[in-house]
Symmetry: C2
Subunit: 324 residues, 2 copies
């Protein structure tokens, strides 16, 4: 008798004979457990496992986060599995799939889009923490920077350097998440400084290229430069896109920051090694990662309900931007 027989018995499947079913149910009642077909499974019975579902495998910011999360989860004597989803995959579906394969205590989403997806998240029926993605709702915790505010701060900084024609390399046109929030911050800064918004300077990521990648930033900037549109500064919504922008400018014979200022967002290690060093809004990714795990364990230990924590960004003024 194998697992499928047991499963059919439990689920009242018609395709099982009465005697077999009786035997299975008696075994369960007698022993108080469901039989399984492998001794190896014994070891998994107390499966204290946290899944980390990562959207954006090539995001160097997340490498640091995963490292910290692994340490913290281990310290709590749980194990961790990581699942990557491509930029065009559904991260919640991926988590649901994983939860089918493995008993999970909780899920941490690193990156991803969650606005208006509360119901999908609830299908998981285990505590969820959204790390680096802010989003309202009672059904999960979020830990992130205030993307609107930090988008505002960076734009305000660029305007104070004298820039008025600031192009943005933003998220997808239909983005309702970090990309939209940073864009709203950008627009608010323009308004407060009395600068008129220029639709032509708001570029959206290409859907067919990896999101927030160097390649995406490169292609957007090439297009912008090719359009003949005047601008003196680019604010990219990721450091990787900012680096792609720098390269596109160099390839067109321009210089950063002499001809164009470029700023990023994230504060990845590379920004400090790039030439010029990248001006950016640094996310406190190690703190966010550590606290994401702590919050999840507090919820698992029923210490409190879901929370929304906001971390301050840090504006790093480096070499890729200059006063004009």
């Amino acid at each position: 008798m194998g697992v499928s027989t047991v499963s059919r018995a439990i689920n009242n499947h018609p395709d099982i004979n009465a005697e077999t079913k009786k035997k299975v149910m008696e075994t369960i009642q007698e022993h108080g457990y469901i039989p399984n077909n492998s001794a190896r499974n014994l070891r998994r019975a107390d499966g204290k496992c946290i899944a980390v579902v990562v959207k954006g495998i090539s995001n160097p910011l997340f490498a640091d986060a995963i490292e910290i999360m692994e340490e913290e989860i281990k310290r709590n004597k749980f194990s961790m599995v990581v699942r990557y989803v491509n930029f065009n995959e559904n991260e919640i579906e991926a988590a649901l799939e994983l939860a089918k394969e493995k008993k999970l205590a909780g899920v941490i989403f690193l990156g991803g889009y969650f606005v208006k997806r509360e119901k999908s998240l609830q299908k998981l029926r285990i505590p969820c923490v959204l790390s680096t993605s802010g989003c309202d709702g009672d059904a999960y915790s979020t830990l992130s920077v205030d993307d609107e505010k930090e988008g505002y701060r960076m734009t305000d900084y660029l305007i104070r350097l004298g820039h008025r024609k600031i192009a943005v390399l933003s998220g997808m046109p239909d983005d309702a998440s970090i990309g939209l929030l940073r864009l709203e911050g950008y627009k608010r800064a323009l308004r407060e400084h009395g600068i008129e918004e220029d639709e032509d300077l708001i570029l959206h990521m290409r859907a067919d290229v990896r999101f927030y990648s160097m390649e995406n930033g490169y292609q957007m900037t090439k297009e912008l430069l090719g359009s003949g549109k005047e601008f003196s500064c680019i604010f990219a919504f990721s450091d990787a896109m900012a680096i792609g922008a720098c390269r596109a400018i160099t390839d067109s014979g321009g210089r950063v920051p002499e001809d164009y200022s470029v700023s990023g967002f994230d504060g990845i290690e590379l920004g400090n090694y790039y030439d010029p060093k990248l001006t950016t809004m640094k996310q406190p990714i190690r703190d966010i990662a550590r606290e994401s795990v702590n919050v999840l364990f507090d919820i698992l230990n029923e210490r409190y309900r879901h929370v929304h924590r906001v971390f301050p960004g840090e504006l790093l003024e480096r070499e890729s931007t200059k006063k004009i």
Copy 2:
């Protein structure tokens, strides 16, 4: 009766009463399976899962590899879990730990050190594939470039550009893996061109900084520049270290390639966006990743025994090296 009781019965533990033990063993004999305590485990019984154990989370080369592996493993209707190990952690121990928590069909190691560790690997008792690490032995498959040969080719190329004082940023002093092989290739090229080896130009990674990282390359280069030792060229054993080297040179007022040529190894995306674009030995990481999965499935399907496949590197001559 819980899992631990069953476990004690099976393992002949003294701390279980005779009657309970008898009951457990009868249940097993009657049904041909080991009871377990959760209905959820039923779904995991056919757990077709491949673990990917990654050494070097911040290695951008591996992000591409993981993406491909996930696709290929999915296509084969298996699931994949990723486990990261820090540069100072034992990757085989990590795999053993994972195999205790979860029934695994096989393990793919991405990066890591395996020379003389055949016995440890065999403890896993499931097929292992070493991806990007070449290593002799019957107990596992390996898919990688020929690190000695490609180290030789890059050095030969640099010598043909006119360089004779070529510093190397190499692996750890006790490295018996890719770092050693690339170094042997470097030394062979010097010998064949009649250039005397200079110990002072062979730098080893710092043990307290992330291996093969920008920071490690930066620190080694700073030290080299500070030593006053004469050299015209740096061959770094990873692109990340090469970028660290470029930055250290720039920070010291030098220029690449005008004052120093710098070449890397790996062929990461960033090398194409860095300024100057990095000369490097590109590993065909996507092919290696895809074939690593295919080889593992061939072994699982008993199509053949373990293999050692070598992939050709591609020398990308770009902007960071010049003729002198």
